[in-house]
């Protein structure tokens, strides 16, 4: 793994200096706090906006804390992933297209080290982001609705993080394999089409990475079929490793695509 530490330092510097450690977690925090707040104050918001007919009555559903966390995760699944993937999908392909990769590729570096250093920094940004998102969501839920059991909440968090590692590995693999535009399309298709297919046939398709976000919530509810959970988790980890391996291979193979 020649040059791993040096490359890792470079990637961290980049992420840090381009404010990625600040603005992406901020996006997740806003997403996380929006559901508990809007749901709780829905009646007040409606009243304040006005124009409700005289004698209007609305039955607000009785929400459990876990319902609000699930709603927040739903936000991360769409806008959150979009932000993360769009930020990182050029990590390798853009470096090649601009020619910045040239000065690194001519050195005796290991492509495995370079790929992993990028993956680790992305994962760290992802970790901090969902930590901020979960924290914001849980904080307002606890203040406004009720408490969580800490053990299952932590389990749920790490289940979601495993899913996020898979998303980032797919994103980076696409970036190593294709040019930015194609990589973006492919990564979005895999992740978001997967979610749609999961939404349609998910009842029958119980073992897949796309299941993990829901399973994390079910861990809190206590309704989880544990064998499905473990199989899905294992599959996700294996697929993540496969993506990293393919990505390292294609990154090396495509080294000559760098602009000279």
């Amino acid at each position: 793994m020649r040059g791993f530490n040096v490359l890792l330092q470079k990637e961290f510097r980049e992420a840090w200096r381009s404010w990625k450690f600040l603005w992406i977690p901020l996006v997740f925090a806003l997403l996380g706090m929006s559901d508990p707040l809007t749901n709780y104050y829905m009646m007040d918001i409606l009243n304040a906006v006005g124009n409700l007919p005289e004698g209007f009555e609305m039955l607000m559903p009785e929400l459990m804390p876990v319902d609000l966390l699930q709603a927040s995760i739903g936000q991360f699944q769409t806008i959150g992933l979009l932000v993360l993937m769009a930020t990182f999908v050029g990590a390798i392909s853009k470096e090649r297209a601009s020619g910045m990769a040239t000065l690194l590729y001519v050195r005796p570096i290991s492509f495995g080290a370079y790929f992993l250093s990028k993956f680790i920094v992305m994962s760290t940004v992802g970790f901090v982001s969902i930590l901020a998102g979960f924290a914001a969501s849980v904080y307002y839920t606890v203040v406004l609705y009720g408490t969580f059991e800490i053990g299952s909440l932590v389990a749920s968090f790490f289940t979601y993080f495993s899913w996020l590692l898979f998303v980032l590995a797919v994103t980076l693999m696409m970036s190593a394999t294709f040019k930015t535009i194609v990589a973006t399309s492919c990564a979005f298709i895999v992740i978001f089409m997967g979610q749609m297919i999961n939404a349609i046939v998910g009842t029958f398709w119980t073992v897949s990475p796309w299941k993990l976000p829901l399973y994390g919530v079910q861990l809190i509810r206590g309704t989880m079929e544990m064998s499905d959970f473990w199989w899905s988790l294992m599959m996700t980890i294996i697929l993540t490793i496969v993506c990293i391996s393919i990505g390292t291979f294609t990154m090396k193979k495509n080294a000559s695509m760098t602009k000279i």
Binding site: V6, L103, Y105, S256, I260
Partner: protein, 296 residues
Amino acid sequence: MTTLLQVTSLTKQFAGKVVVDGIDFTLAENTSTALIGPNGAGKTTTLSMLTGLLKPTSGIVKMLDGDLRSTIGFLPQFPQFHPWLSALEFTEMAAKLNGVPANKAKLEAQKTLEFVGLGNDINKKIATFSGGMKQRLGISQAIVHKPKLLLLDEPVSALDPVGRREVLDLLKDLQQETTILYSTHILNDAEEMTDQLLFLRDGKLVEQGTLHEVRERFDEPNYVVEFNTEEEADHFIQSEHIGKAKGRYVYIEIIDEKESMQELLHHLSNAPYKIRKVERQTASLEEIFMKVAKKI
């Protein structure tokens, strides 16, 4: 002289189009070689294959002293840097990636940046650098690990005259202890610092040798006689039946050094007007370049 790099029938095709066509050459240790040729001749492609970034379609690049990637330094024509790093951080990273021990890398990077004239800007972000500064930084990242072979793609083409002069002087300093191969289409530069010339045209190596050898082969020396007016020059040609006029100048081809000189002196002594200057002229590299570029 010991050979450092040996290139044998190196060929590159892109989608069936031959860009580099079976070229052979060797680089001896601590010499500098200019790779010259018109645009599109395959200079950059050749250099890219030597760096290992581009796989040759066929042919062999053989480094006789260690592994290729760890013994070269490379400066692309338009080097691109990570703009959020400082010059020192980038150079230090370059050194470390090439195996300079971590405790020495920073010092080496500082020394190199001072050597290329960026001593006052080592902590500035690369994003704020001008074109000339980036070119210097490009050189510093290529030499910080003291490579045996330095490959430079058009190192001075993008610089203003002052920057060009300074970079050329830098390269001359490096010439003492490094093997340099650089491409250029600015022939004055090649004339100034080169032991070997490689002429590329349409991917083929059409001419090769030392500057002296190439010059011998292509030189068509002339005597140039300058008169005061065009009329005098014309009159001289008509009365003496010698040479070709071009304005106030008369060009006389030298066929045999001694005879031609005697003949010229004889004719000149007959001329009834003042002669401003008589000069022996040899072809500049530019003229040779034009001849090689057009040679079929």
